[in-house]
């Protein structure tokens, strides 16, 4: 145990203080900051993509005015009946769910006669909702706003707007947007981290072989300890870097959110409750926990494979070529996950999300986008753990044979022999 912690600590500290890691982390943080600005800009542009909107108004005058207001941004289709309340007609609802319209907007009169709105998107970006609010406010001011006293102004500004996402997966529009964006971002992070740190482990092994430090080390510690120390040290390093990136991303989200909130507050304080700060607060902690769990599972699954490959290679160049077959499942897992974002409950994805090497990414995607039965999560984590256990045993065997071997790479037959040898 002591040996293991000494090995892991050296691995961790020497990499943490290396120029490569520091520069990589700084660029990563800068990248996250840049990305958060770009995504902010991007969502302004996203208004240009015309959303088709089914409109139901309380009366002809208001309906026409609304259609007028929204015409620039939406493809408006006025429905041939009047609204008496916020409820959506079943037929209209199914039209929206089935994709005939992207959203439905229902304008109705409250008991006091003031205008109120109900918005039913099927997929939604919160920023898009913001621009909708501005448009609606203009209508409210034009139709309802009478007098100049303070309370009238306030009542007009605080016009009621309820947003109900018709996509059954999400409780609210902001959650829908957040979930998809977040899952995509986290998935990318997972993919990069698993590949990058897995390859770190492999090249670290070869490095020790090629500079012959291995000769000294092997006289003092067991190959299995060397392997475990390296994987644990680099795993800890990976978590550190992810923590730093997470911190950067989190604070950028808060900053951007606060900025949005303050700019909206000047117009309408109440609907601002639907914007980013609240959204961040609702990032489920469970999702972050799952991210860490599945990262660790993915990292350990691949790192042990890469360590085995590293032990058999004598030059760093060799590792890159022999890593190939093992990088393949990561790419498959990533592709499947991207598709699964749209339809996470498809049987293919359900079954694939139980398979080790693929499950860390795919199961994470499913957990983040749909309700996954607990047994499936359990089976997927369990199988991954079994896989890691077996892979570690095999890698340790390869290590024994490979670490003191230079020159000619082992033939597949010799590798098999090494794997079968008693440890």
């Amino acid at each position: 145990m002591r040996t293991l912690s000494i090995l892991a600590a050296r691995e961790y500290m020497s990499r943490l203080t290396s120029r490569g890691f520091i520069i990589g982390t700084i660029f990563g943080v800068l990248g996250i900051i840049a990305l958060s600005f770009i995504s902010g800009i991007g969502s302004w542009f996203s208004g240009n993509f015309t959303t088709s909107l089914a409109l139901v108004g309380p009366d002809r005058a208001v309906t026409q005015m609304l259609a007028q207001q929204l015409r620039d941004d939406y493809k408006v289709k006025v429905q041939p009946y009047s609204a008496t309340g916020p409820a959506i007609e079943p037929r209209l609802k199914s039209d929206v769910v089935n994709g005939k319209y992207d959203a439905a907007l229902i304008a109705y009169r409250n008991h006091d006669g003031s205008l109120a709105f109900a918005y039913y998107p099927v997929k939604s970006a919160s920023l898009e909702d913001q621009s909708l609010k501005h448009k609606l406010l203009e209508t409210v001011v034009a139709t309802d706003f009478k007098g100049t006293n303070r309370s009238a102004v306030q009542r007009a500004i605080n016009f009621p707007l309820t947003i109900t996402n018709l996509n059954p997966r999400y409780k609210s529009a902001s959650e829908a947007f957040l979930a998809q964006a977040l899952v995509y971002f986290l998935l990318l992070l997972l993919y990069i981290a698993v590949i990058m740190y897995g390859v770190y482990v492999g090249s670290g092994v070869v490095e020790e072989k090629s500079n012959r430090v291995m000769e000294i080390m092997i006289g003092a510690v067991r190959p299995g300890q060397l392997l475990a120390g390296k994987i644990l040290g680099i795993g800890a390093l990976a978590l550190t870097q992810m923590f730093i990136f997470g911190l950067a991303a989190g604070s950028m989200l808060v900053l951007v959110g606060l900025h949005l909130a303050s700019s909206i507050q000047t117009v309408s304080p109440a609907p601002a409750a639907h914007t980013a700060p609240l959204a961040i607060a609702t990032v489920p902690l469970s999702m972050i926990a799952f991210l860490i769990v599945f990262f660790l599972l993915g990292f350990f699954s691949y790192a042990t494979l890469f360590a085995g490959v590293g032990a058999l290679a004598s030059k760093t160049e060799d590792v890159q070529t022999s890593n190939g077959p093992f990088v393949f499942p990561i790419i498959v897992a990533y592709m499947l996950s991207i598709f699964a974002l749209q339809d996470p409950d498809k049987p293919l994805f359900v079954w694939a999300s139980l398979v080790p090497l693929i499950s860390p990414m795919l199961m994470f995607t499913r957990v983040a986008t749909t309700t996954v039965p607990v047994w499936q999560i359990g089976v997927s984590i369990g199988l991954s753990l079994v896989f890691i256990w077996v892979a570690t045993l095999l890698a340790a065997k390869l290590y024994r044979v490979g670490v003191l071997m230079y020159g000619k790479p082992l033939s597949p037959k010799e590798i098999l022999r090494a794997l079968r040898a008693p440890s």
Binding site: T3, I6, L7, R10, S14, S18, E208, N211, R212, V213, M214, E215, I216, M217, I218, G219, A220, V221, R222, L404
Partner: protein
């Protein structure tokens, strides 16, 4: 005491070590000699429990060598290597702790050893900033840092200049005086001869000679004679099997077969001319080595 008992190891069908036995005692140096590929490194790896012998066993003080035990041993591998960008003092601290030292003790010992190896001004350097000789010193320090009871040195003198060879030899002598058992594998016969009391020569996986070096020399069947070179050395013709070996102009070196008495040679020489020098010398380790180790192309 290290006991290597009848160990054999084969890789696939190639024998690397065959039924090798020897002891390394506290306070003594045993030289493990043999041509390249004879099985020295495999033997060392079996002592260190890196490889398991197919048959036979390795014991230290009667106990089978395991991971915990070999952690106390010191090992200077032939293939040297350090982490290129890690400060040498940090590396030594790391190696020391892997061998079970606590940090404070290791630091103190590093400072002492740096002083005796003249490295004090290099405390903050990384290996890439050091000369090859200094890197070798650091590597040597790594092997002896934790005061190992058994020290295994594989070609310890390679890469050292003559002055540093002396430093290393003195250090080894100091450790041996302190009770360390040393296994020394080297091709440098002079140094092995100077340091080793016991030797074990292996050739093509088989031990060909082993034992106390002095005894081997004393019971050596051939005698070597150094004597004044006479203008006419033909008196040697009466001693069949006597061979004049290449030597200097003034001194002749003669190898005598086992049944020839040196005194008879002396009498014959005196009658052949003025002899200022006549001495019977023991065989050098080099002679012994060359006698036992068959040349590469001499396979029968």
């Amino acid at each position: 005491m290290l006991e290597v008992n009848q160990v054999s190891k084969a890789f696939r069908n190639v024998k690397a070590v065959s039924e090798l036995s020897f002891y390394a005692r506290e306070g003594r140096v045993i030289g493990l000699l043999g041509p390249n590929g004879a099985g020295k490194t495999t033997t060392i790896r079996m002592i260190l429990d890196i490889l398991q012998p197919d048959t036979g066993e390795v014991r230290w003080d009667g106990r089978r060598v395991d991971a915990q035990l070999r952690q106390t041993f010191g090992y200077l591998p032939e293939e040297r290597g350090l982490y290129p960008k890690m400060k040498i003092t940090e590396q030594l601290l790391f190696f020391g702790r892997l061998h079970g030292m606590d940090g404070a003790d290791a630091r103190k010992r590093i400072a002492e050893l740096f002083e005796s190896f003249n490295l004090t001004d290099k405390l903050k350097s990384t290996p890439v900033e050091l000369s090859k000789g200094n890197q070798q010193k650091v590597q040597f320090i790594a092997a002896i840092l934790h005061r190992p009871p058994l020290l295994i040195l594989d070609e310890p003198f390679s890469g050292f200049d003559p002055i540093n060879v002396e430093v290393v030899k003195d250090t080894v002598r100091g450790l041996v005086a302190g009770g360390t058992a040393v296994v020394l594998s080297s091709h440098r016969m002079e140094q092995v001869e100077e340091l080793c009391e016991d030797i074990c020569i292996i050739d093509r996986s088989f031990p060909v000679v082993k034992g106390n070096l002095r005894e081997i020399k004393q019971t050596w069947p051939n005698r070597f004679v150094r004597m004044t070179r006479l203008p006419n050395m033909s008196f040697l013709d009466q001693f069949p099997g006597a061979v004049t070996q290449p030597s200097t102009d003034s001194v002749a070196e003669i190898k005598l077969p086992a049944n020839t008495v040196p005194a008879d040679v002396l009498r014959a020489a005196v009658s052949a001319g003025p002899v200022d020098l006549f001495e019977v010398v023991e065989p050098s380790l080099n002679d012994i080595y060359l006698h036992y180790v068959r040349p590469e192309d001499g396979v029968t």
